[in-house]
């Protein structure tokens, strides 16, 4: 049975985010998952016609916004492979994605990952966007000896000596470094030098692991950390937090936030006219909703990201345009970009392995040596290969700045698509 997923949205994901319910996507996935579980049962009979890959993301629950869009980008990657003739080494076998919803819940992640491994003859699993969930899913995969490919960033992921683990993204600790480095570089090149920094981070896995790296690098580079502050991710009011920032007399703020808290922080900083330069920590600072929620106030905000739609290596493949057409979002965000990268990587590894076999695919994944313009080699740093821990050690984060309604890559120079604007004007002049 061929299962090329033809996803043609009448209502793009982007619109759904505003008005309708993203349930519709889930409905679609649900139907696909159910279909594969019934029809896909006697996998051995049709061994070479399709190769199954598990796509394990939270497409409902707190992190649905991101899980949903990364799933979409991953599917797009596999579709591009299938449209180009599938896996040649397996006689043009199609890649059949098996989508699993892990509901932003670690217990469900545990059981669902195990289920997809046991019920389907999958050769690899990719997921889970949320680092905490990737921790669980990668444990399950390691214990079942199934390759796990992730774009999650937590440092804890790769320091466990796992053999079936691959991480294409930069590590959390590096984001901090990139954030601090650009702040330093901009100050040195254009002046004035600013030294007093405040680090704000939301209290989930993502924020805390990134913040530690931020602190270390900021200290190393001689910044004075006047505030190192976590806040609840469901913070109802940023007032007290911003009072704390103002009290600390910080000149630079490094906030690590999801979306809602990112908007509250910027809004409150602006309304209190707290004169600081902001270098955001990815996620919420890099999705279209950021601009939607803040309007002109979003302009010129800096943020670090693991990828950006306008970096050079991604240009030949038209990913952002294809994704925009598919979902209606104005550009592809960093994590969806990684999703695409991982899909192409897994397909390439199956091709090189020449067999729909978990160990062969693992070996092929770990032996990856890809260079641009290969569609899997789109991460910053270009060359894609893995070290002994399974980490893509060539990768580095990029720094973007919101300019004219889109995040544009401004640092490091080899990835930059445009020049940074510095120093930042007063809040009233940001538009």
């Amino acid at each position: 049975m061929k299962k090329v997923r033809k996803t043609s949205y009448k209502t793009p994901a982007w619109q759904r985010g505003k008005g309708g319910a993203s349930r519709r996507t889930v409905l679609k996935y649900g139907a696909a998952a159910a279909a594969t579980s019934i029809i896909g049962a006697p996998a051995i009979l049709r061994a070479q016609e399709t190769v199954k890959v598990g796509i394990v993301y939270p497409i409902s629950g707190d992190f649905a916004r991101f899980g949903d869009s990364v799933t979409e980008a991953t599917l797009m990657g596999f579709e591009h492979v299938n449209e180009a003739g599938g896996i040649e080494a397996l006689g043009g076998a199609m890649i059949e994605p098996v989508i699993v919803d892990i509901r932003s819940d670690p217990t469900v992640t545990r059981t669902e990952t195990e289920r997809v491994i046991n019920d389907h003859d999958i050769v690899a699993v990719t997921g889970c966007y949320v680092s905490g969930l990737s921790m669980v899913a990668s444990e399950v995969c390691e214990r079942h000896q199934v390759p796990f490919v992730t774009g999650s960033i937590s440092d804890g992921l790769s320091d466990r000596g796992f053999q079936y683990f691959c991480q294409v993204s930069p590590k959390a600790s590096m984001f901090g470094e990139a954030q601090v480095r650009i702040a330093r570089t901009l100050g040195e090149e254009f002046g004035p030098e600013k030294n007093r920094v405040a680090i704000l981070f939301e209290d989930t896995d993502y924020g805390t692991s990134t913040a530690d790296g931020l602190r270390n690098t900021a200290e190393e580079m001689g910044f004075e950390i006047v505030l190192f502050e976590s806040y609840p991710f469901d913070i109802p009011d940023a007032g007290p937090l911003i009072t704390r920032v103002a009290r600390s007399e910080a000149e630079i703020v490094f906030p690590v936030s999801y979306l809602q808290d990112a908007i509250l922080i910027i809004e409150t900083l602006a309304s209190r006219n707290v004169d600081v330069s902001i270098f955001g920590g990815g996620a919420g600072y890099l999705v279209p909703e950021f601009q939607d929620g803040l309007g002109a106030l979003s302009n010129l905000t800096y943020s670090v990201g693991s990828w950006n739609w306008d970096i050079e290596h991604a240009q030949p493949h038209g990913i952002s345009e294809a994704y925009a057409e598919r979902t209606g979002e104005p550009f592809i965000h960093e994590h969806a970009g990684e999703g695409y990268c991982m899909a192409r990587l897994i397909a390439d590894a199956i091709e090189r392995a020449g067999a729909a076999d978990r160990d062969a695919v693992r070996d092929a994944l770990r032996a990856t040596e890809l260079d641009p313009p290969h569609p899997a080699a789109i991460m910053p740093g270009g060359h894609l290969s893995f070290d002994d821990t399974g980490w893509n050690h060539n990768v580095h984060p990029v720094v973007v700045q919101w300019q004219d309604g889109k995040p544009r890559t401004v640092y490091p120079p080899e990835d930059a698509a445009t020049d940074p604007v510095w120093p930042l004007p007063a809040w009233d002049d940001r538009a």
């Binding site: 976590s230 609840p232 009011d237 007032g239 007290p240 103002a246 309304s271």
Partner: protein, 291 residues
């Protein structure tokens, strides 16, 4: 800026944020004081009111504060339905039964919201959302100020209603002695129904006034209700004036905890405070007075 400015800013932040919580706690206390019923799904009604406000804004462009005119009567009716289906039959049973049943209701409402509206965070940002003014360096957000003033106005309206109107006095009579009130010809069941309707409308008002500066997602009520319970415990179960004062205190304590200790300290202090108060003064700081 001088330290004094920060102190006042924190005070203002704490006070302004407490308005919504106070309204939820008032409804909770009113039902408890009059009907002797514990409703842990109280804030779920606020959550639905937030969605209602959002829908009115998206679909009709109705200003969130003006939508109170629609939200209040609609949720009073919902309150009547809630009384008839969930309260009346089990009113005289244990508080544990009330809590579990309304917990079941909370499950239903939260997940119904998830099905209808998805887990996406919804916000209302009006043209005046970011507007604020400045008094001696203390920045005051107009949307939050308006929300707070509406909450306080509703509190005094409620007190006036309970003291000045016939129905209000009947409610107080029932709260003091149900059988005595019945003996004097008060239709107790009708009084209960009106009380619950008012309480649910208050919860809805809380949701609506918070919507312009906050956001809604299906689980948002879980957080509100914790704060509302903290307020009720501190103010004394069923003590409305106590709830007002306790609400203001808790708002300010959380804000100062956040600014001067940091991180989650605000919330940690608030919940540790509940345990301490339960131990030292189980009837709340202001006693359990009859309304």
């Amino acid at each position: 800026m001088s330290e004094l400015v920060f102190v006042f800013q924190t005070l203002v932040d704490g006070l302004l944020l407490s308005g919504g919580y106070i309204l939820i706690a008032l409804g909770l206390g009113l039902i408890f004081g009059v009907v002797n019923y514990v409703n842990v799904a109280q804030a779920e009604f606020s959550m639905f009111a937030m969605y209602g406000t959002w829908v009115l804004w998206i679909a009709l462009g109705l200003d969130p504060f003006l939508s109170l005119a629609i939200i209040l009567p609609v949720f009073a009716m919902i309150g009547v339905a809630f009384y008839v289906s969930m309260v009346r039959a089990v009113r005289t049973r244990d508080h544990g039964v009330h809590i579990l049943m309304t917990l079941g209701l909370a499950f239903i409402l939260q997940n119904a919201a998830l099905l209808i509206f998805s887990a996406d965070v919804r916000t209302i940002r009006t043209a005046y959302s970011a507007a604020s003014f400045n008094i001696g360096g203390v920045s005051i957000n107009i949307v939050k100020l308006v929300a707070f003033l509406i909450a306080i106005a509703l509190f005094f309206a409620l007190i006036a209603f309970l003291n000045k109107t016939r129905t209000g006095r009947a409610i107080r009579a029932v709260a003091q002695d149900e059988s005595l009130a019945a003996a004097f010809g008060v239709n107790v069941d009708r009084i209960f129904m009106i009380t619950v309707a008012i309480a649910i409308a208050l919860a809805a008002a809380a949701g609506t006034i918070m919507m312009p500066h906050l956001f809604v997602q299906p689980m948002v009520g879980q957080f509100f209700v914790l704060f509302a319970f903290a307020i009720v415990v501190m103010g004394g179960m069923g003590n409305l004036k106590g709830a007002l004062v306790a609400g203001l205190i808790i708002g300010v304590v959380e804000a100062f905890g956040q600014v001067y200790i940091g991180g989650l300290a605000g919330r940690i202090i608030v919940f540790a405070l509940i345990l301490i108060i339960l131990y030292l003064r189980p009837s709340g700081l202001f006693g359990r007075s009859a309304l």
